[in-house]
Symmetry: C2
Subunit: 309 residues, 2 copies
C-alpha cells in the first residue's frame, strides 16, 4: 500500500460509529412516540424494589391495525393483569397470555369488542401514484417511500416507513418484519385465529420466515433485557412445564394510564442523521473495524428509539 | 382460487417441517464430532445439583486455526478455571475471560505457547482447481464447495463447508460468519491482538458486520440457554458493574478430559436430507405457514447438531 493509500485508509477509519451519529442528531430530527401508542408491561419483580418494566410501541397504519385495535381493547380492559409469560423458546420467542386459554372451563373471558382479522391483513397494498405516460394521459404506478439499498434474503425490497418501521415488499404489497424485539400475535393453525390476546416477542435471530404468516403489531422500545434474559422453558416449543415457572404479569396497560412514564422518541427516517446512520451501519469505518461489510441486514439497522432527555 | 389450485395449495401445505426432515435423516447422514474438537464450559450452578454446562465445538480448518490452537493450549492449561463471564450485552454477545486482564499486577498469567495471529487469518483463500481452457492448456479457477442459493446482505456468496460451517465469500477468499451461538475471539483495537483468552458468544441477531473483523473459532452445540438467559450487564457494552454479578467459571476443559460427555454429531451437508432441510427452510410449506418466503437468511439455516442417540 502506498503512503497515500494508507493515509486514505486511516481517514476512512476515523469515521464515526453509528451510535455516535445517532448521539449527534439534532433535537429536530427526533419525532415523538405518543403514550397512547405505548403499552407498559410490568412483570413481578425478582427482587423487591427492582421493577421489571417492558415498554412496547404499537404498530401504526398501514400495518396490522385490526389486531392493534384488539390489543388496545384488551389492554384497556386490563385483561392481561394476573396472567403470565408461559413460553420462552431460546433464539425464537417469549410469549404471554392465558395459560388456560385452551381449557374451555378455566379460560379467562375475553372482553367484548374483539374483532376477527383476516389473513389478508398480514400485508398492505403498496401506495400508488398517478404518473404521466408517453403519448399523453396518465397511469398509476407503485410509489413506496423509504426503500433502502439493502440485499434481503426474504424479499425483493426492504426499507423503513416514514413512521420508523422496517418493512419488506414484493412491489405490490408490503409488510412488517420479524426483527429482534418485534411483537407478534400468536395464533392456532388457521391464519385468522389470532385475536391479539396471545402476544410474543422475538428474542433471537430474526425469524423472518414468520413474515406474512403472523401479525407483527409492535416492538419493545425499553426494558427488552427483562424478556430476553428469562429462563428458557424446557417443554415443547419452550413452554414452561410447571405453573411455578411462569412469569407473573402484574399489569399490561396503555401508556396513557401509567403515571410517570418517560416520553420516548424515534429518529425520523427523513432526517439527514438517519441517512448517515444507515450508511455507517452498512459500512462500519469506526476505528475497531478493519473490513467494512458493504452491506447490512435490515434487522441490523434498527430505527433508533430513546427516552426524551 | 379454483378447486384444483386449492388442492395443489393443500398438497404443498402437507410438506414436512425442516425439523421433521432432520429427524428422518438416516444414521449414515450424520457425521461424528470428535471430543477432541469440543470444549466443555461449566458455570457455577444457580441451584445445587443443577449443572450449567455449555458445550462448544471448535472450528476446523481452513478457518481460524491459529486462534484455535491457542484456545486448545489455554484449555489444556485449565487457564479459564476460576475466571468468569464478565460481559452480557443484550442482542449482542456474552463474553468471558480474565476480569483483571487489563491490570498488569492482577492479571492472570497466560500459559506458554500462545502464538500471535495476524489479521490476514480472518479469511482463507478460496480453493482453486485446474480447468481446461479453450484452445488447449489449462488454468486455475476458484472452486468453492457448498455454495447455497441464498441472497446475503453482507457478501456476494454464502454457503456451508463440507465440515458443516456456514461461510461467506467474495469469490477470492471465504470466512466464517457471526451467527447466533457462534464463538469469537475478543481483541483490543489492533486487529492482531486477540490471543483467544477472551472469548464471546453471539446471543442475539447475527452481528455479521463483525465478520472478517474478529475471529470466529467455534459454536455452541449444547446448553446455549445457560448463556443466552444470563442477566444483562448494566455497564458500558454490557459489562457487569460489580464483581458479584460476574458468573464464575468452574472449568473450561477439552472434551477429551470430561468424563461421561455425550457424543455429538452433525448432519453432513453432502447428505440428501441436508439438501431437503435447506429447501424446506427456504420455503416453509408445513401446515402452519400460509406464505413461504422463497428464501432464508444464512443464519436461519443452522447446520443440525445433536447428541448421538
Amino acid at each position: 500500500m502506498t503512503v497515500l493509500a494508507l493515509l486514505a485508509a486511516a481517514a476512512l477509519a476515523q469515521q464515526p460509529a453509528p451510535s455516535e451519529l445517532v448521539a449527534r442528531a439534532g433535537t429536530e430530527e427526533w419525532l415523538p412516540i405518543s403514550p397512547s401508542d405505548v403499552l407498559v408491561l410490568e412483570l413481578r419483580p425478582l427482587t423487591k424494589g427492582k421493577p421489571r418494566r417492558v415498554v412496547l410501541q404499537l404498530m401504526p397504519a398501514p400495518f396490522s391495525q385490526g389486531w392493534v385495535a384488539n390489543i388496545r381493547t384488551l389492554a384497556a380492559a386490563h385483561w392481561w393483569d394476573g396472567l403470565s409469560i408461559n413460553r420462552v423458546q431460546d433464539n425464537y420467542v417469549v410469549q404471554w397470555g392465558d395459560a388456560n386459554g385452551d381449557d374451555q372451563v378455566k379460560a379467562k373471558k375475553l372482553p367484548p369488542g374483539l374483532v376477527p382479522v383476516p389473513a389478508s391483513a398480514y400485508v398492505a397494498p403498496v401506495p400508488r401514484v398517478m404518473v404521466a405516460v408517453a403519448g399523453g394521459g396518465s397511469s398509476d404506478a407503485p410509489a413506496l417511500p423509504g426503500l433502502l439499498a439493502i440485499r434481503d434474503a426474504y424479499a425483493p425490497q426492504v426499507g423503513v416507513t416514514p413512521q420508523g418501521w422496517p418493512f419488506a415488499s414484493d412491489g405490490n404489497s408490503y409488510w412488517p418484519v420479524h426483527c429482534f424485539g418485534m411483537v407478534g400475535v400468536g395464533r392456532e393453525l388457521p391464519p385468522d385465529t389470532g385475536s391479539g390476546a396471545e402476544l410474543y416477542v422475538v428474542n433471537g435471530h430474526a425469524p423472518r420466515h414468520l413474515d406474512r404468516n403472523l401479525a407483527v403489531v409492535g416492538r419493545v422500545i425499553d426494558g427488552m433485557e427483562h424478556l430476553s434474559s428469562l429462563p428458557r422453558g424446557t417443554g415443547a416449543m419452550g413452554f414452561y412445564e410447571t405453573a411455578a415457572e411462569r412469569v407473573p404479569i402484574v399489569s399490561l396497560h396503555l401508556g396513557t394510564e401509567v403515571k410517570g412514564l418517560p416520553a420516548y422518541e424515534f429518529l425520523s427516517p427523513a432526517a439527514p442523521s438517519f441517512t448517515a446512520y444507515v450508511a455507517a451501519r452498512l459500512n462500519r469505518r469506526d476505528p475497531f473495524f478493519v473490513t467494512p461489510a458493504g452491506g447490512a441486514d435490515l434487522c441490523n439497522v434498527p430505527v433508533p428509539v430513546r427516552r426524551v432527555k
